[in-house]
Amino acid sequence: MSYIIVVCILGLLGIGFYCLLITRNLLKLVVALQVLVKGAMLAVLFAGCLVDNMEVAQSMALTIIVADTIVAVIGLAMAIQVRQITNTSNIRSISTLRK
């Protein structure tokens, strides 16, 4: 049972990081971050089980959910604005925004 969860955590982290490494689309970046954070959240809960301190782990997971959602919102908002300014969603375009 615990092996399955460890595999899930590591798998999610690996998939998320791989996508972050090769993606060139700003919206895909947000997707990758979402996947990555789900892995991290499972890891926090798993750590809570390990040390038998589930309450703290759960409250931290709650904070992670909030933070993650806000990151998604800001990321999407940024992607939209960047797309409208530069007419592309390539992540390279962000560094050209500097005046």
């Binding site: 399955i4 690996g14 791989y18 060139r24 919206l27 589930m54 959910i65």
Partner: protein, 165 residues
């Protein structure tokens, strides 16, 4: 039981993979919602029903809606430029640390999964982890600003105008 858990895990990893690799942003958003649902199920199994429900409603619900909304504004785009990092190097870099981590981790750990009574959780959240609450409040304010940015294309126009000057 273990077989079911293993199936859930496989489904979770498959949908995560699909979410990141599938063509078309709308499909990616749907696969992400599926990933979120499966994560919620795992959380439920690990004894955190409360968090699972929040994850389901926020991760699979709210975020998906936001994605669909964003995609409907700007549409999909195929990016032609080359990879910045060679894919093989990326693959190695994304697997090596987690293989090491797995090697370090899977050496006789077997936690007990049990339900936490709701009142203990509430107590922890409201009393012991106040700093998290303040952080969440700040984050939510940021989120409201983000939503405003999401539905306000005027920022882009103003930026373009200034640049034109």
């Amino acid at each position: 039981m273990t077989l079911i858990y293993a199936l859930i895990a496989v489904a979770l990893l498959y949908s995560a993979h699909k979410a990141t690799r599938v063509k078309g942003l709308l499909n990616a958003a749907l696969w992400l919602a599926a990933t979120s649902c499966l994560t919620a199920i795992l959380m439920y199994i690990m004894g955190s029903p409360g968090i699972a429900v929040i994850e389901l409603s926020v991760g699979a619900g709210l975020v998906t809606v936001l994605f669909v909304f964003a995609i409907s504004i700007i549409g999909d785009e195929k990016i032609e430029s080359k990879f910045f990092i060679p894919p093989l190097a990326a693959l190695l870099m994304a697997t090596i640390p987690f293989i090491i981590l797995a090697f370090l981790w899977i050496s006789g750990i077997s936690p007990v999964f049990k339900n936490t009574p709701a009142d203990i959780l509430a107590n922890t959240i409201w009393e012991d982890r106040k700093v998290d609450l303040y952080l969440q409040a700040a984050l939510i304010i940021t989120g409201i600003l983000g939503i405003m940015l999401l539905i306000a294309p005027s920022v882009a126009n103003r930026f373009k105008k200034e640049r034109g000057k």
